[in-house]
Amino acid sequence: MSALLEVDGLTVTLPVAGLQQPVLRDISFTLGQGEALGLVGESGSGKSMTARAIGRLLPPGAQCEGRISFDGDSVLELDGAGLRTYRTHGVAMIFQDPRASINPVRRVGDFLTEALVTNEGVKQDDANTRAAELLDAVGIDDPRRRMRQYPHQLSGGMLQRVMIAAALLINPRLILADEPTTALDVTTQAEVMAILDTLRRERGVSMLFITHDLELAAAVCDRTAVMYAGLLMEEQRSLKLDSDPLHPYTAALVQARPDISVTHERLLAIPGRPLSAFEAPPGCAFGPRCPHAEPACAQAVPPLLDVDTGRSRCRRLPELRGTMGAKSAGAGNG
């Protein structure tokens, strides 16, 4: 599988109180054609910022180091026509809140077809036909009528399907899905996720799937990366996250999951609170909350090391491996 997207040493800083503060530190990963990678983390971990950096949607004042390469092009150096081509044919983004992310005063049909008509000069009629077909594919009944309506006349779940249809309409090679189901209610979440997953696989589109839900990422993505405080903590095949976590943080996330088959006396929680990148201590960012931390962990940020099944940023991994799994001893009970 040749890599479609390569992120190498990506570091992003944002101006906060007059100082450039890091939000992403040395992020590296690759994504193959047709592959799906899950990016999991708590709010503030930098997972959305990673997607924004790839989509070139960082807030004003952000500074980037490192390399993002898409099909051989250096994304961070694109501008003008190159950047527009990249956005027109390369990536499509799906955002968390469809109601906020779709212009409320334009018709659904306008939203769907705007990129095709404006960027590619497709005739409005043809664009309408293609949009209606895709609306049908994402499970919206009577697409022609829906296209004449305004966003406020559609439910959140329907709007997110519209968003997915709009993303697929340009035949992108990569979809950046930033928590696409978080704003939806639980029953709709599953349907929308299934539609996105199926259509993406059918068309061979790669996907970077941003979520705070480890289980959902594991279900949808081939590989999953876990982020904490602007750092990639581990990355491996999704199937192994549960049984063989490569980082105590992942293990703690697994432990924190309420398991309905077992009656716990109380839910396990990770002690401490999630940190932003610029609050992180000098050593391992997770150190202060880690049950396995030792003084040496606070010396320097551990490097992201290749392991047989993936990568990990835990310097004690060799000794801890196999003891952190779901069935093993708890990660502390806060």
């Binding site: 101006p15 906060v16 109180a17 007059g18 503060q21 999991v40 983390g41 708590e42 705070h212 839900d213 480890l214 289980e215 703690a252 996330l253 697994v254 924190a256 999951r257 309420p258 839910l267 929680a269 990770i270 002690p271 401490g272 609170r273 999630p274 610029f278 806060g334």
Partner: protein, 292 residues
């Protein structure tokens, strides 16, 4: 396994190094200057006439448009009256008149808004429609109508102006109160059996007080302009009494003859005070809205 299930075991509040600290510092300087200007003119209005020995009404045609001289640092107007004394005495009606407008319109508008937001239903709908229909209605016109009924002067004009401002104030407070009302804690208080009046007065009112103060501050500026304009067109404070609006008008003949001092000094006072008030009002609005 949603990360939302990961509870924070350390609930203490955390200082987030956001940009608000830097911004607070910057806007602090401007706000202090604005507040300083306002306090200075308020003190002049309240105490100035006690400290100044020159009679603002004493006419001496010899000194017509006279330049500054010892004891008369700003010189004289066309009738040889001391300009500084006129400005200081004029500060009284110009600075204190608008306070009446602010008090009446805020109390009236606040009461209407809070009761509408709390009672809701048809009452609120009617209040909202009336407010919308009258919003931004030129209070100056009402004041002129009032003057035509009871004769020139600031009292009736101020009361009329207050009525003109009430929809503006009520609209701002109503929307803030509605937002506040929709917060869960209000339902919690209701469930605990607290009466409507005490919820409104003890909980909603304090929480929208920032917005109320901001609206009152901004309407002070508008009222100052409107009352000065009324005096300027001859329907407010009557000469020979001094008022900044009157002085701008009195100075026009001099201005045409090359002696613009009287008009310009009085204008400068108005612009300085209104500028300071607007600046403070903007900052107060930002702070109140930011804190919501």
């Amino acid at each position: 396994m949603s990360i939302l299930a990961v509870q924070s075991a350390s609930p203490e509040p955390v200082e987030m190094p956001t940009s608000s600290a830097g911004r607070a510092h910057r806007m602090g300087v401007g706000a202090w200057i604005a507040l300083g200007i306002l306090v200075f003119f308020m003190l002049v209005a309240l105490l100035g006439p006690l400290l100044i020995s020159t009679d603002p009404a004493s006419i001496s045609l010899m000194d017509s448009f006279g330049p500054p001289q010892p004891g008369h640092p700003l010189g004289f107007d066309g009738q040889g009256r001391d300009l500084l004394a006129r400005l200081v005495y004029g500060a009284r009606s110009s600075m204190l008149g608008p306070i009446l407008v602010v008090l009446i319109s805020t109390v009236l508008g606040g009461t209407i808004a809070l009761s509408a937001a709390w009672i809701g239903g048809a009452y609120d709908a009617v209040v909202a429609r009336v407010i919308d229909a009258l919003f931004a209605f030129p209070g100056l016109l009402l004041a002129i109508l009032a003057v035509s009924l009871v004769g020139p002067g600031l009292l009736a004009a101020s009361i009329a102006l207050s009525i003109g401002y009430t929809p503006y104030v009520a609209r701002i407070i109503r929307s803030a109160a509605l937002q506040e009302r929709s917060l869960p804690y209000v339902s919690a208080l209701t469930v605990q059996g607290l009466g409507g009046t005490s919820i409104v007065l003890r909980h909603i009112l304090p929480n929208v007080s920032g917005i109320i103060v901001a609206a009152a501050t901004l309407s002070y500026g508008y009222a100052l302009i409107d009352l000065a304009a009324l005096s300027f067109i001859g329907l407010g404070v009557q000469p020979p009494a001094s008022d900044w609006g009157v002085m701008v008008a009195d100075g026009v003949p001099g201005l045409l003859q090359g002696y613009p001092q009287e008009s310009l000094y009085a204008s400068a006072c108005i612009v300085l005070v209104v500028g300071a008030v607007n600046f403070l009002g903007d900052r107060l609005t930002e702070t109140a809205e930011g804190g919501r």
